[in-house]
């Protein structure tokens, strides 16, 4: 058991460690954590804090990808939930009131949840390919967010709302607690109920799962709903960080970062077995990579180029053909394929 676990997470963790070490060697201040007024500061703390929205989105994406799907709409959903929350606070007479902020957050997240349900409906009931089904909302979502904010970037002043992304509790950023809580809750639901195993079953072999009596439609639907909900929460975090609802910039390209994080964490895009721990590592890796890029003096706008390079490396490593070449050149079998039966060859036409 330990063996399997180590094997699966070995490379993601190794990649993260290498990044941290490279950064530390380049600038020793990277791992320095300073205490100011009982609060921790430093590049590492920033990475933990700034990764919160991506963490939430990537968790949902992991579940969706496990069902053989994909959710492109998460960025747009973030924009919508942020827009909803901030518009409520802006329109309220008491933007600093705890009640106002709570209502704003709950409404924003609920709207996001409904959007997730909509995606799930298109995929699991209507049977539209996940890429296309979520593309619809990816297109329309930002438009809806713009409508909610009336085409402007809504900015607010609300201390409780600011606290979500910028506040500190027990010396650590509150956002970190949010992202850790999300990880814990999702892990608990997936692994302490049967949902995780059944999700994997649906992702690995939908027909066999159906025959085994698994309610695959509901499981797929729920995956998109959860993804929407988490994206909504991420939208709240994002808007709290900049105290503005920017319908165009909120969550831009986050779906790609999230997909990358999931893949980096060792979950295959073909669905099936997923690793939440891997996704967590993947998220930190991406956030560290971005911080590294910034440190190198590369404008943040150019960072997609580096992500592209990482994506290409990752997909090439996963590519069967490249593995075949490696296997042939090293005379080393990649994976024992004992699952093939003689009848496997006969199944097709016969």
């Amino acid at each position: 058991m330990m063996n399997v676990l180590r094997h699966r997470l070995f490379w993601p963790i190794a990649a993260l460690l290498v990044l941290v070490i490279v950064n530390t060697v380049a600038r020793p201040s990277f791992i320095a954590v300073t205490v100011q007024g009982g609060q921790l500061y430093g590049p590492l703390i920033d990475i933990l804090r700034n990764s919160a929205p991506l963490m939430l989105v990537a968790l949902g994406m992991t579940i969706v990808i496990a069902t053989r799907g994909i959710d492109l709409s998460v960025g747009a959903i973030m924009a919508v939930s942020g827009a909803v929350a901030l518009t409520i606070i802006e329109g309220s007479p008491d933007p600093d009131g705890m009640g106002t902020v709570l209502i704003a957050i709950v409404t924003g997240v609920l709207v996001a949840f409904v959007l997730g349900l909509w995606n799930g409906f298109l995929v699991s009931v209507i049977g539209i390919q996940p890429i296309i089904a979520t593309l619809v909302l990816m297109l329309a979502g930002r438009g809806i967010a713009l409508l909610i904010t009336g085409g402007f970037i809504t900015t607010i002043n609300s201390d409780p709302y600011r606290f979500i992304a910028q506040g500190y509790v027990f010396g650590l950023p509150f956002a970190l607690y949010v992202s850790l809580a999300a990880v814990a809750i999702v892990a608990l639901i997936e692994r302490r109920t049967a949902l995780g195993m059944l999700t994997e079953a649906v992702g690995i072999n939908p027909e066999a799962s159906r025959l085994a009596g698994v309610r695959s439609r509901g499981i797929i639907w729920a995956a998109y709903a959860v993804s929407g909900l988490l994206a909504g929460l991420a939208g709240i975090l994002y808007s709290s960080n900049i105290m503005a609802a920017d319908a165009n910039a909120a969550g831009l390209y986050i779906e790609l970062d999230a997909i990358l994080a999931v893949v980096l964490g060792g979950t295959s895009l073909m669905g099936g077995k997923f690793s939440l721990a891997g996704t967590v590592v993947g998220v930190f890796t991406i956030q560290t990579l971005k911080s590294t890029i910034t440190f190198l003096g590369v404008p943040p706008a150019v960072s997609p180029l580096f992500l592209a390079i990482v994506v290409v490396i990752v997909v090439l490593v996963q590519s069967p053909r490249l593995r075949g070449w490696v296997a042939r050149s090293t005379r080393w079998r990649v994976r024992p394929a004992a699952s093939r039966d003689t009848e496997g060859s006969e199944v097709a036409p016969s």
């Binding site: 297109l139 329309a140 085409g151 390079i309 053909r321």
Partner: protein, 338 residues
């Protein structure tokens, strides 16, 4: 439609039947055309001054780049793939072209460089898809990232273009017909791309192989068709079109900005799908994609006529896309049952 054999008397029924059996794949195209006509009619009835030569001419002018992108995208989607990189590649080639022009490189050198650059980005996607079994979605996503990053690497700020030759493409208004009908060289380029795309798809083995691959890649291979080469080439065509769109868009805006074309890949896909091309591949036409682009342009124009938020454009397009995808899904489900 009746069950009995329809080979004998040429009645209206047989004519329809014959048309349907030959041209069933054109039905979505006519649906898109119908939507366009209804939109024109509705807009004209509502605004009273919508269907003017000026507005219609601008439709082509304003969407020339999108039309070119849509032609390339049609090739890729017909094979059953997708290319998310077109918007970013357009921005990147535009940026590089603008910076070369600024450095005094003559336009006749710059334009071919932009085209080759676009085509090679497409080739990269094709190689990943074809040789490394990367899903088209992921491969073109990587290209999109790369192109966007490269665009910013060229310059973080926008670059003005004052090359007379490039600007001429946009500023020249050729009177196309009596009245205020006009067409620009960019419009002519876009129309030529559409015509070339349509001819290639209809009259060359490359074009027919694209349809064959989209119909059933395995079958196409069993038929002995050059599947690998054709799929690679489809992505190259899309990249080439993105490069050309970079030229046209640069001319259109008179400047290049690295954030150009964000979300354009989605607009392009939406236009292609609305134009009747099946996302599963194998069915659709470049002419349909042209109609799809015009539908997109009309929505945009109508919304600006209304003085409403431009964000309605994306919402409407998203809604139309949904409608078409659901209808496609129903059609596919029905044909499966046959």
């Amino acid at each position: 439609m009746t069950d009995q054999s329809m080979l004998e008397r040429p009645t209206l029924g047989t004519a329809i039947q014959r048309f349907l059996s030959r041209r069933a794949s054109w039905v979505p195209f006519f649906a898109a055309l119908l939507i366009l006509v209804l939109m024109f009619a509705g807009a004209q009835a509502y605004f009273g001054n919508f269907l003017t030569p000026r507005v219609i001419s601008s439709l082509l002018l304003d969407n020339a780049y999108l039309l070119i992108l849509a032609v390339g995208m049609t090739f890729v989607i017909l094979t059953g793939g997708i290319d998310l990189s077109v918007g970013a590649v357009m921005a990147f080639t535009g940026m590089l072209g603008a910076s070369m022009l600024r450095d005094g490189v003559p336009a006749p050198v710059v334009v071919p460089v932009m085209l080759v650059l676009g085509a090679s980005m497409g080739l990269g996607v094709g190689v990943l898809v074809q040789y490394f079994d990367v899903q088209p979605f992921i491969a073109s996503l990587a290209a999109m990232f790369a192109a966007r990053g490269l665009a910013f690497m060229v310059s973080l700020a926008s670059i003005r273009v004052d090359d007379a030759g490039i600007l001429w493409l946009q500023s020249t208004r050729i009177q196309a017909a009596p009245g205020s009908w006009f067409i620009t060289p960019t419009g002519i380029i876009a129309i030529l791309v559409v015509v070339a795309g349509a001819l290639v798809l209809a009259y060359t083995r490359f074009g027919r192989t694209i349809y064959a691959i989209g119909g059933n890649e395995q079958s196409a291979r069993l038929m002995g068709l050059p599947v690998v080469r054709t799929k690679l080439l489809a992505y190259v065509v899309s990249g080439l079109c993105a490069g050309l769109a970079g030229v046209v868009f640069t001319a259109y805006t008179g400047a290049s900005y690295p954030l150009n074309g964000i979300g354009t890949e989605l607009d392009t896909i939406a236009a292609v799908v609305i134009g009747g091309t099946l996302l599963t591949g194998g069915s659709g036409f470049v002419l349909g994609s042209m109609i799809g682009v015009f539908v997109y342009g009309t929505i945009k124009t109508a919304i600006s006529f209304l003085g409403a938020e431009q964000s309605w454009t994306r919402i409407t397009i998203g809604g139309l896309l949904l409608l078409f995808v659901v209808v496609q899904r129903l059609i596919v489900a029905r044909s499966r049952r046959r």
